[in-house]
């Protein structure tokens, strides 16, 4: 039987009242519970929490990791950590931040131009964090701080490990430097990982291997009083204080030979330019010098705005990495490779001769392409053309090859694209082609490729630009007869705790295979003749050497000479003089080192650039005793 229920208003109201009453009781009870909890916290536990909040409170003190050290290929220390004094600021203890910063400026502990940056930095961190605001103070600054200490609440003098580069400017462009973390850096890093770390790798190896070098930070809790001074741990509270030990970053072993680097920089001293030396058999970069250099210790110390401006506004551009970012016309240094392309495409045979009368013209054109030797070289075959650097021979060869084949061959060698070296900022230069012209120029009439533009590529001029690093790598490829590697600056990691060494294997690139291997020797013989043949352009470079050098000189035009004018070096202002180039490898029969040298506005490759390469070869191959 099913009971039919109907709505009973009286019953419903009574049930509701009943329930509402119960609810009121429950609500009241829970309110009392909350009040009781508040009573517990605020009356019974008041003392405990007062201590925590007012008198003493735990400050979290970062224990920054030691940055991984960097050694050169022989194990010589080139980036280390040394104890230094630095100023740190804890915002919550500083009171009026702006007033504190103004006082720091008045006491000469902060430069006026840096106040804004420091303020931003401090505000971007948590209020109880000690933010490094000045690194590596000198004795006088420490004394000044000591005198004014009581006027600087929340500003602490701490001993921290600071980056130091014992070789100073030597190798600075390869090594790079660390500097204070900037706003830009903050945007790309995980802030937590830099808790207590004031610096970050800015350029070079220091930046590219930041993740390896950084390590991981630790922390420890310290009870501090209202002024932020650490106090003795209270009874029974020590158990609540936690800490975590920091882990140092990995040690890096570079491919760089810092003493060889020093030789190269001294040979180049006083000039602007670049020297790169590569081990052709594994891509190890032994020398990466860009001159003038700068002292990376300035950045690690926290460079002042004034000093920084002095560097950036120097017309010699010391901060500019010419090896990686300087793009220059390769000039005659590419003639051996051009000759190789001619052989490979069967455009020319080694014995084919050209009669050089000092100039070359395309059919139906009155434009004269001039040879550097006005009188001409007479009858030259390939060997002589390379040895004497005959321009007319290579104008003709380039014209015969045509732009498409030149482009294909040179791209294969690596021109027009970054080499992929393991530090950042590298440029690829330009390997021109009709397609490149079309996509680069806006106006239609500029997009057309002219036959004359192919002709001058034969001597490495025109739109073609390359970095010294690309030239060194191409030279290394000739040295190994077609094998090449991604250039690198770091060859091993070392674990700071266990000392375990992790060696990185060289990274081979697809080798360049020739249809006839003998062609390699044809070219290399010609390059040896450059430094030793009867009319070689770089005879001086090998005089007295105990080994044979295969090289090629070059000059890159900065200033274009009129059709009938004669180029007169002495009359041209220094900045408009040609760049001097020299590429070489040695010993020619068993190559161990490939070098590219560029001297900006140096004039002739043979006189300005080749001796620098010789100095490096001597130091490396003969132990510097020659």
């Amino acid at each position: 039987m099913r009971r039919v229920r109907i709505k009973d208003e009286i019953l419903e109201q009574r049930v509701f009242l009943q329930r509402a009453l119960v609810a009121s009781v429950v609500v009241t009870a829970l309110m009392l519970l909350l009040s009781g909890r508040a009573f517990w916290l605020q009356v019974l536990q008041h003392e405990h929490y007062s201590v925590l909040s007012q008198g003493n409170r735990a400050r979290i003190e970062p224990l920054p990791p030691n940055r991984g050290i960097i050694v050169d290929r022989a194990g010589r220390m080139i980036a280390e950590n040394t104890p230094a004094y630095q100023l740190e600021l804890v915002r919550e203890q500083a009171g009026d931040l702006d007033a504190t910063l103004a006082r720091l400026e008045r006491f000469g502990l902060l430069e006026r131009d840096d106040v804004g940056r420091v303020r931003q930095l401090v505000l971007s961190r948590r209020s109880f964090e000690a933010v490094p605001i000045r690194l590596q103070l000198d004795d006088e600054e420490i004394a000044r701080y000591a005198v004014h200490r009581h006027e600087l609440p929340g500003v602490l003098l701490e001993t921290r490990m600071a980056r130091h580069y014992p070789y100073g400017p030597v190798g600075a462009h390869a090594l790079g430097y660390v500097g204070t973390i900037s706003e830009d850096d903050l945007a790309r890093i995980d802030k937590e990982r830099y808790f207590g770390t004031g610096v970050i790798g800015k350029t070079g190896v220091e930046r590219a291997y930041e993740a390896e070098l950084l390590g991981s930070g630790g922390y420890r809790e310290v009870l501090v009083n209202a002024e932020g001074r650490p106090v003795d741990t209270l009874e029974g509270q020590s158990g609540q204080l936690r800490s975590r030990a920091p882990q140092a970053g990995r040690e890096l072993r570079l491919t760089l030979d810092i003493e060889l680097q020093r030789v190269a920089e001294q040979a180049m001293a006083g000039r602007r330019g670049a020297v790169v030396a590569i081990d052709p058999w594994n891509g190890d970069v032994l020398v990466l010098a860009s001159l003038p250099s700068f002292d990376p210790n300035g950045f690690a110390r926290g460079i002042s705005r004034r000093d920084y401006l002095a560097l950036t506004e120097d017309p010699d551009q010391p901060l500019f990495n010419r090896v990686l970012r300087g793009t220059y016309p390769p000039g005659s240094t590419i003639k051996p490779i051009m000759a190789l392309a001619g052989l490979e495409y069967d455009v020319v045979r080694p014995e084919d001769t050209v009669i050089c009368r000092g100039q070359f013209s395309l059919p139906n054109s009155r434009h004269r392409f001039r040879d550097w030797k006005r009188a001409g070289h007479g009858t030259v075959d390939m060997h002589n053309a390379v040895m004497q650097s005959c321009d007319v021979y290579f104008y003709r060869l380039a014209n015969a090859l045509g732009i498409e084949r030149i482009h294909a061959a040179m791209t294969r060698i690596g021109f027009g694209a970054p080499t992929g070296i393991d530090i950042g900022g590298e440029r690829g230069g330009i390997m021109p082609s009709p397609q490149w012209k079309k996509s680069t120029f806006r106006q239609r009439e500029q997009q057309v490729w002219f036959p004359g533009e192919t002709v001058i590529l034969g001597i490495g001029q025109g739109y073609w630009t390359a970095t010294p690093l690309q030239l060194a790598k191409a030279t290394a490829l000739l040295a190994t007869r077609g094998r090449h590697f991604r250039p690198r600056l770091v060859r091993a990691y070392v674990d700071p705790v266990t000392g375990a060494v992790e060696v990185r294997a060289p990274e081979p690139l697809p080798p360049v295979e020739l249809k006839q291997r003998a062609n390699w020797e044809t070219i290399v013989d010609a390059m040896v003749a450059v430094t030793s043949g009867p009319r070689g352009t770089a005879l001086r470079a090998s005089r007295g050497a105990a080994y044979s050098i295969a090289g090629k000189t070059g000059t890159a035009q900065v200033y274009s000479v009129g059709q009938t004018e004669k180029y007169d070096e002495s009359k041209v202002a220094e900045r408009l003089r040609d760049h001097a180039l020299f590429v070489a490898f040695a010993p020619a029969e068993a190559p161990r080192l490939a070098i590219a040298v560029l001297v900006e506005n140096g004039g002739h490759g043979s006189s300005a650039a080749a001796p620098i390469a010789r100095a490096v070869f001597d130091a490396y191959l003969a132990g510097g005793k020659d």
């Binding site: 709505k7 049930v15 329930r19 009121s24 909350l34 009573f39 009356v43 405990h48 209020s127």
Partner: protein, 377 residues
């Protein structure tokens, strides 16, 4: 003479106010309680916001908007509200489904629906739509509800609650569930069912645990042992307890809370503002505030008891009790009694959406109450 005239002027003013209130269908006592707590909240917020006066002004404007919405809703007749209940419920359900499919993600949770001009959280609608729907359903059936009706109502609660919990918005899901369950309980749900329900929930804990997001689990674990994660999730709870505890009996004074002012206390103008009150006004301040809340809840329940039919009664009672849940969950969380569930302190925390929904609920409560009076007269 003089005295008398003054007194009569006062009396006249009082009568005029009463008339105005009656004309606007407002309940004077409830309004007084809400405004008192609200003003206290603005006072505290001024301190908690620090230098940020823009934030404070913003909240003042939102409070004004909330009161306006409340007054507007108080004018809606009760039968109209009842008619609307299923429509609002279905509308809200559709929006929730839309959020699940195409909502905007903010702070790791998919809660917002962008309708061109404004972005809003459909889950806010459900805070009122679910109790309305449940009350509407039970209104047509004899009470106490039969098992079939209980199951039907539970479904009405469960579907939106699961959709909201999935967003994930644990706090709102909890409130919506509470609002629906209160309707059932006030409607006379048998104590046996209630106990059975508690048992089922208890059995479901492991299942729920496995469905929870990592951050939700973390919050529960942190409640059990805040020190286990002093730099992370436990930081909130430790700092808020230090703030409250160090406030003592009378507090450190308005704008003088070192925990709050030195930014030790996280989210001090929103979810953790209760700790600011504890620090700056002490135990007395907290008790005064809790008394204010108790008054509002009690007045709400009283008004519900005066209602003449099931729909108005159940809905009013549910609104009053849900308000209490808000208070209890937030205060419990800040004092370390409950896990950290992201619910604001009603009428005090900075934030517009929940304030407007709350005052809208009280507007409905006043509308239902005044319609009783119209029936009675």
């Amino acid at each position: 003479m003089y005295h008398e005239r003054g007194a009569s002027r006062t009396r006249r003013t009082v009568t005029a106010t009463t008339r105005l209130m009656r004309a606007l269908h407002l309940d004077g006592m409830l309004l007084a309680g809400l405004v008192a707590v609200g003003l206290f909240g603005l006072f505290v917020l001024y301190s908690a916001a620090g230098d940020n006066t823009a934030l404070w002004l913003n909240q003042l404007v939102r409070f004004g908007i909330g009161v306006a919405v409340m007054i507007a809703l108080a004018q809606v007749p009760d039968h109209f509200l009842r008619m609307l209940a299923p429509v609002v419920f279905l509308f809200g359900l559709v929006l929730l489904a839309l959020v699940a499919v195409a909502g905007d993600v903010g702070k790791g949770a998919q809660r917002w629906l962008d309708i061109g001009v404004v972005r809003f959280q459909p889950s806010e609608i459900m805070k009122l739509a679910v109790p309305m729907m449940c009350a509407w359903y039970l209104h047509q059936r004899p009470l106490p509800p039969s098992l079939r009706d209980v199951i039907a109502v539970l479904l009405m609660i469960l579907v939106p609650v699961l959709l909201i919990a999935e967003q994930p918005d644990l706090g709102t899901a909890l409130l919506v569930a509470a609002a629906g369950v209160f309707v059932l309980v006030l409607g006379g749900l048998s104590p046996a069912y209630l106990l059975a329900g508690v048992a089922v929930v208890g059995a479901a804990v492991p299942l729920v645990w496995s469905l929870m997001h990592d951050y939700q689990r973390q919050r529960l674990l942190t409640l059990l042992d805040p020190q286990s994660d002093a730099l992370g999730a436990g930081y909130h709870i430790i700092q808020s307890q230090i703030a409250i505890g160090s406030g003592g009996m009378f507090g450190k004074g308005w704008t003088n809370g070192s925990q709050a002012q030195l930014e030790f206390l996280p989210e001090r103008s929103t979810d953790f503002i209760f700790a600011v009150i504890g620090e700056e006004f002490g135990l007395l301040g907290l008790i005064a505030l809790l008394a204010g809340y108790l008054f509002i809840v009690a007045r709400g329940l009283y008004m519900a008891a005066q209602c003449r039919d099931a729909f108005t009664r159940l809905l009013s009672g549910s609104i009053a009790l849900t308000f209490f849940v808000y208070v209890f969950v937030n205060a419990g969380m800040v004092t370390g009694l409950l896990p950290v569930v992201g619910l604001p302190l009603p009428l005090v925390s900075y934030g517009g959406t929940s304030l407007v929904t709350l005052l809208a609920g009280f507007g409905i409560l006043m509308a239902l109450y005044s319609s009783r009076k119209l029936l009675g007269s």
